[in-house]
Amino acid sequence: MKSVVLKGTQNGFEITLDDSENFETIKTEFTELLDQLVHSSDYSEKKGMKFDIITGNRALSAEQKQTLRDIVNKRDNLFINEFKADVMSNDEAYHLRDENRVTIIDQTIHNGQDLKIKGDVLFLGKIHKGGKLITNGNLFCMGNVDGIVQVGFPVDESKLAVGNFHNAQQVRIGEQIEIIEDNREKISEDLRTVVYVNGLHTISYSNLDNIKEISPKFFSRIGGI
């Protein structure tokens, strides 16, 4: 039984690597396979050939991927499309989880405290003057904000802050900073206020009723039609 197998599918070619075989053997067999491939009738130098590499229950390290790429690159007109695995590293998994979860927080952020969160935040607590709530996602805020909130940290201007920010010190979205004191009359005390960055890269205020126009992507994510 070969540990490196080439298959043709509807979407092109796939090379499956046996996930129980050691990597050195795979490397040799992989090289042999490519040598055979170049001399086979399926291959024409002009058209070239692209394929995915399927690794099953094995996550290749960056170095291992590079080794395979180097072997492929030595041959003309052969390309790796992408690596596909049924497993992922903890780092990738955590990243994915943090990106897509909503964290619920109910605490008081005191003067001088910075609370950094990954992903979207549903905030039920209080932010005192001088306190900071920072997230790389969106913020949905039902608590009292007298301090500073920052969404889309550090540079993502597509994120939103929803809540009553009438008494806040600052609202920051990505790199845009709004000092609320100077715009107090523009920002209502309504909990349904949405703060966002508009097409001109300035911070703007609206209401949740207009969420479809403000961020169609977000609107579709929350199930709007």
């Binding site: 952020i109 005191h110 003067n111 001088g112 001088g130």
Partner: protein, 265 residues
Amino acid sequence: MGEAIVITSGKGGVGKTTTSANIGTALALMGKKVCLMDLDIGLRNLDVVLGLDNRIMYDIVDAAKDEVSLTKALVKDKRFGDNFYLLPAAQNTDKNALTEAEVKKIVDELKPQFDYVLIDCPAGIEQGFLNSVAGADCAIIVTTPEISAVRDADRIVGLLEKHPMKEAPRLIINRIRPNMMDNGDVMDVSEITHHLGIKLLGIVIDDDQVIATSNHGEPIVLNPDNPASEGYRNIARRILGETVPLMQIKVKKESFWKKLKGAFK
């Protein structure tokens, strides 16, 4: 085993030292054995307020560096029999002269010998603050009704939240001027307490006598009739676990005749 209480505020000038001296004195008057520790190294004041400045021979840095025994560095206040001792701060060095471990060692050494060890924290949140809270079992945060003091107290609440002690911090609102609070010129007691979200231990009314008596090295609690003294005594009783109702803030209303007299001045 005694309890170590740190008295802190963040902001300077809100009355940490006065509060330490008065609570300490009040506890000693109630028959408890008290040791006051001054950690405001380089700017020591507690000895002056207590009238013990002439009696200092060694200080906390000497004791921490094992140059003298801790007992030798303690200054006894003879007015209270064997109940009241001061561990003075050093004057010729700065707040970085001590480490947290050294202070904790001293506090742990004092606790079995006393009912209460009160630690007078310096202003700020640097090494001096860290040293002061290192050995403490609980904290008393002192603030005044001024917004800047409340903001700093909030900062301290946040810092203490990060390094929780055995007991939650409690609040003293100092230097209350009844007429200003009555007029709504400053935050009132319940507003401040609610904002900071910690338990209120007591309030102290601003009184000229507090400064006048401390200039003579006599804490105000030695005068039982003064309103500020009543505040400090109530606080001491609450520390001992008694339930004492909160003092009513009375505004002195000028009489009609006095107003009339004023009009003709």
